[in-house]
Assembly symmetry: C2
Homo-oligomer: 212 residues x 2
DNA sequence: AATCGTACGGAGCGCTGTTCCGCTTAGACA
DNA sequence: TGTCTAAGCGGAACAGCGCTCCGTACGATT
């Protein structure tokens, strides 16, 4: 469970690879990712940064140079799982006759991912300030979700809900999906998708007014 | 905006009202409630406790004797609004021909309440540990929600979603409902209700399997 | 007026994420 | 192989959080 793939090495960003990174730097980054993955499993995604540093056997300075902010560490740890989710979208669309069913299954996978990583959903739903994580999830997954929605309920122009918004909704629904209470995030997400499927394109909206 | 109704005075809990509370105690509790209401408006529900204490002109000890934990203060501040929501349930059921529409409107009111009190939704969705708030919301509102669901999609026995769960779902959907992003909590909640209405009783479930 | 215990104030504790800076050492070059 | 430099490291320190503790003040009762 300790191996965390991560992009192999290069991709130096801009254009001129100034100089190769030092060996210990690369070693520490990997140690950090492994440690974080392990700690997140036992203590949840909200585990203190210090704990991850200790587990990896490095100092605070080191962890913050490699991952300038907590969410960025989280993103790095789960990057390959997000990738799998992104690739699952087109795949489901191809293998499933009913695109609505494809969307259903993709949503279920998204929930499963968020819910098993205890606390991840909360991080996703956090306000824009969190930055990196939110942005990465959205940029990588939103187009996939939009494609599924296009196939299932029609183009964005017809008034259907945007993919980002559905993702955010599912993310929110997944918060606390596996605490003792009987709350079933997967079921709620599926009901939300049902709603989207049922009145996907803009028709009779009339959301109602507040009572009190 | 400074008046916070709250139960007038008595309701001493158990059975024997040992002794009347001291005048300054009652005065401070009210000051605290007013201060909290004001601070929550300007700084959101996540405002530091110290800020509320300062605004009320009392010390930390005082605030924590009256409201042993942060969520309990929040509950007290919004208690009358919760009450209004509870009373709105039966009222909507009576005035609306279609019970589904009644449920829709009640849900809209719930979202409106959670979203305008910035950060309240997050507190509601917090894990069981939060205690008081979660419990109060559930105990007071869940029966109302269940009644609406009974009328709209049938009895619990037929396999429909429990009221508590729908409330929790709506609560989660309301998180971050009014930050800059285009996320529309009210719309998502309405879609969720649509899903509940559409496949309310247990029929073809098959939520789908995870892709990755 | 004297008493007594309820209620008060706020310093302080333990926890968090994050920053800062002096020291270490990998690795290029001679 | 020795030297030198800057990339990289460790961890003390900071600010901000919820919450506790305890000596002190004062409202109510006699």
């Amino acid at each position: 469970m300790t191996t965390t793939p991560q992009t192999p090495e290069p991709a130096p960003g801009g254009q001129a690879p100034r100089r190769a990174r030092r060996a210990d730097a690369r070693r520490n980054e990997q140690a950090l990712l492994d440690a974080a993955a392990a700690v997140f499993v036992t203590h949840g995604v909200d585990a203190p940064v210090r704990l991850v540093a200790a587990e990896a056997g490095v100092g605070m300075g080191t962890i913050y140079r490699h991952f300038p902010t907590r969410p960025e560490l989280v993103v790095a740890v789960y990057r390959h799982q997000v990738e799998a989710l992104a690739e699952a979208g087109p795949a489901l669309l191809a293998e499933e006759a009913d695109p609505g069913q494809a969307l259903r299954r993709w949503a279920a996978g998204f929930v499963e991912f968020l819910v098993t990583k205890h606390g991840l959903a909360g991080v996703l739903g956090a306000d824009e300030g969190a930055g990196a994580l939110h942005r990465y999830f959205v940029e990588r997954l939103a187009p996939v979700c939009d494609a599924l929605l296009d196939a299932a309920v029609g183009p964005l122009e017809s008034g259907r809900v945007p993919g980002v918004m559905l993702m955010r909704g599912i993310g929110n629904l997944s918060i606390g999906g596996r605490d003792g209470t009987g709350y079933d995030a997967a079921r709620m997400a599926d009901l939300l998708v049902s709603g989207v499927l049922a009145r996907g394109s803009a028709r009779d909206a009339e959301p109602g007014a507040e009572p009190g």
